[in-house]
Symmetry: C2
Subunit: 289 residues, 2 copies
């Protein structure tokens, strides 16, 4: 049971976390803090939060658990705002899509309180956002990665894990470096690739003809290009090193395919496509079973 949960950013992720824990009766009072007054008032009206905090520093003063569910670029300032009033024994966790940079920001700001920060990342993206999109079932069956620090007390990590487990999420632990490497490849790069295609076509003077014949394949491929620009700007910059590596590898692969087409190498193309198709069939099968 949490007496006082403080959610920084009462949007899709923060709001859904609060709702899931409320539904299980695991939290007594939720305070929301954030930049957008209208969103906080909506969150209050919808029962996502129980009160609006005047400031981060004020809100965390009596917190047991703090969830930072804001774009990763806003994390450094947040840690600086909460360090002075964060009580001993309170746990801070986050929902940032990158981990090495968030941890670096936490280390820089939290000083001797660094052990109270348990880094996390729920994988439950959606193109919707704001408190109005939050719902208690968002994390059910979804992965949540924790990247614990050497300074964390094991019981604090277990407590954060148990909260996500209460949201029916599948919790895994890994190093922050592994996290950032894996998500650069399976999440950050595909977002860039979808943004790139959408923006490329949109900038053409005759974009109407392209969009009017785009079908379901295009729709699914570009779904993540509907994601939040500020959030993805932050992710791209925060996971810069791993993402540049993935971009280079991906461009190389596209150049390989380009070379096969230019050389009219039908066997090479078919083999590459067949490897891709088989991998996807295996993946989907593994997910379903």
């Amino acid at each position: 049971m949490i007496d006082h949960l403080v959610v920084i950013g009462a949007g899709l992720i923060g709001g859904s976390f609060a709702l899931a824990l409320k539904r299980k009766g695991l939290v007594k009072h939720v305070t929301g803090v954030g930049r957008g007054r209208a969103n906080l008032e909506l969150a209050l009206k919808l029962g996502v939060i129980d009160s609006i905090g005047a400031s981060v520093g004020e809100a965390v003063r009596s917190a047991d658990v703090v969830l930072a569910a804001i774009p990763v670029g806003a994390m450094p300032a947040l840690f600086r705002e909460l360090v002075d009033t964060l009580p001993a024994g309170a746990i801070v966790t986050d929902a940032g899509s990158t981990k090495q940079d968030v941890i670096a920001a936490a280390r820089a700001a939290l000083g001797s309180k660094i052990g109270q920060f348990v880094p996390g990342h729920p994988i439950a993206g959606a193109e919707t956002n704001g408190a109005g999109a939050a719902h208690a079932h968002l994390f059910e069956g979804k992965p949540v990665i924790l990247t614990p620090l050497a300074e964390n007390r094991p019981e604090d990590v277990d407590r954060v894990e148990s909260l996500w487990s209460a949201c029916i999420a599948r919790v895994a632990r890994m190093s922050e470096a592994d996290h950032d490497r894996v998500f650069a490849a399976v999440s950050h790069l595909p977002h860039l690739a979808a943004f790139a295609l959408m923006e490329e076509l949109a900038e053409r003077p005759d974009h109407d003809i392209y969009f009017s014949f785009a079908g379901s394949g295009f729709r699914d491929f570009t779904r993540i290009a509907g994601s939040h620009p500020e959030m993805w700007r932050d992710i791209a910059l925060a996971n810069r090193v791993a993402l540049l590596g993935e971009l280079d590898t991906y461009i190389d692969k596209l150049e390989t395919i380009r070379g096969l087409i230019e050389a009219s190498d039908g066997m090479g193309l078919e083999a590459l496509f067949a490897r891709a198709r088989q991998a996807r069939l295996n993946w989907i099968k593994g997910k379903v079973s």
Copy 2:
């Protein structure tokens, strides 16, 4: 009313076309021809076709309408097989995903019968294939492009259009060059981009860790990597020129994004992502309304 429809390739597309027309009572007899005996027998058993043709040449002898629904790489041989026995007055149309190369193959093989070929392309892809996947509603609300030839009789083009309209498809006409340019961008390139990512990750020794944390964004982005390797090999080669151009443009766009990340240009990244997002919102809105 068609007395005798011959479907070359009684798979998802050919089979669904036959079923849709049967459902409307617009066809008396459907003959299926194809490479896969098992698929043809399944099509017969499911009532997708009414008989199996011994050969293309035999089947088209009494045809009113012939639909070629096979990979575009197989079209040249098909046209050579049907030219001698194709009766005057019969119409041949196709479902090929590229048009300039199919038309070139038709011109090379059909000689004075070229006017009987009305090129077409239904946009109703799916990762499923074979007669078992065919259903009468596949084309409802989906675009079908016709790229008529100067040699076509207007009434023949109208007749093909009316058949697709009977499938509740939205029929449009454009030049074959416009068709290939547009589909290189909105269909062929995204397929290559999805195949590329899937194959790249699959080839890594530690691919398991990547796939185990891939989420819904990855799932949708890579859905079209489940498409048929042979079909897409043919498309990539058939639409070579337009596709190489699109690949170059896309790689340039990825390099632009790479440059923005490397330069830590947050404003530039956010602006590009915002343009992409807005374009997608507009597109989805336009599709829905």
